[in-house]
Symmetry: C2
Subunit: 208 residues, 2 copies
DNA sequence: TTTAGTTTATGAACATCGTTCAGTGAACAG
DNA sequence: CTGTTCACTGAACGATGTTCATAAACTAAA
């Protein structure tokens, strides 16, 4: 089909409208939170009638889903940026910091991706390649450590990567829903947890 | 004031009504999920008119909050049951298993307590003693380990307890919102993560 | 340009949501 | 028995997601 090889003014304006609606929705989530993401509110912000949104999106959830996918791309970009550290241990710490930093700076986006029912399930479990790519960044660290024989016997890289994600998500989501509970600064908590993880997982005793 | 030292039939029936409403709400959350917790649905299930609920509760969120507190008591009870293990390491594993098991068996209750905005914050950060008691069960393990000098130098019991909660919550909540992502069985994942944690935290190398 | 057809946008409406309120009957106190 | 309080209801208000008939705007063919 016509991918983008002949952007007729029709299709162009339609794509513009879609993008403007998404932009309005993104702004609402950032400024007023996910709970404020209302069809009427989006329409008002985008300069449309509420009914007009249904010409470009199937339903409210479709908009939220697309917003979640964009958020996942944003998270992946941040992780990619942190993933250029050469040393795997430094990279692991950089990736972890970038992850919780994303959740801290855009809590409503993080909630939309990972804490609302029906989004994360399709984003990570389904065919979304961005989620898989983000996970691969974490898995790469442990794969590299395993290749260098720096993991203790019996440690499986994939399980470790999953465990790291569990840890990061636990910290990020608890900070969002239950910030009063995490008494210590999360950066400090994160550093301590990573230290524990590495102490338990690495073969030798690498300083830092 | 009159705590319960003169249960006039008036107050008794009022308390009964409250309890019946809560019971109906609990059933709805368990059977149809938290999203289905509607005032009209609760009223119908309890045999009341929707408006009648406001004679016993301030608003929908008040009902949900009370349900969340009851859920927290239930979680605390489960943890208490698992907390009678004498050996601290075995107790840690039992507590962890009980935690994720609760989240697996009552995911909607767990979501209500820890994943919805405005509940966990008040339950754990505020003056809710049940949440603090539940956390104390985890902290007790590490306090005991510290007293027996089985923790590695520099390991702070309180931080370790928080870290364990982070880990458990990460596993429980990812299982709920993103079950497709956790490929390995969660029991297996939990065991591996606990092993890593202990390997990194304990002084000697205790088998099992 | 005129005409026919498709696309885009709207306003009104429906069902459902949380919540409020005037009114109704029953249970209580004197 | 009487007057008052209490538990409860039906109807309503505003807001939600969504649909539909209708109108305006743009596109393509005559």
């Amino acid at each position: 089909m016509d991918e983008n090889q002949n952007p007729s003014p029709r299709a162009r304006r339609k794509e513009d409208a879609r993008e403007r609606i998404l932009q309005a929705a993104r702004r609402i989530v950032l400024d007023e939170g996910f709970a404020a993401l209302t069809m009427r509110r989006i329409a008002q912000q985008a300069g449309y009638s509420p009914a007009a949104l249904y010409l470009h999106f199937e339903c409210r959830e479709a908009i939220a889903r697309e917003l979640g996918e964009a958020g996942m791309r944003s998270l992946h970009a941040r992780l990619s940026e942190a993933g250029c550290e050469a040393d795997p241990l430094a990279r692991l710490r950089a990736l972890s910091r970038a992850y919780v930093q994303f959740a801290r700076e855009e809590p409503e986006t993080y909630r939309l991706i990972f804490m609302e029912p029906g989004f994360a399930a399709s984003a990570l479990g389904g065919k979304d390649e961005t989620g898989a790519a983000a996970f691969a960044l974490l898995a790469g660290v442990f794969a590299e450590l395993a290749a260098a024989r720096r993991l203790r016997a019996g440690a499986q890289p994939e399980s470790l990567a999953t465990g790291l994600w569990v840890l990061l998500h636990g910290l990020a989501s608890l900070k969002i829903t239950c910030s009063a509970f995490l008494s210590a600064p999360e950066e400090e908590l994160l550093a301590g947890m990573l230290d524990n993880l590495l102490h338990g997982v690495l073969r030798a005793a690498p300083e830092s």
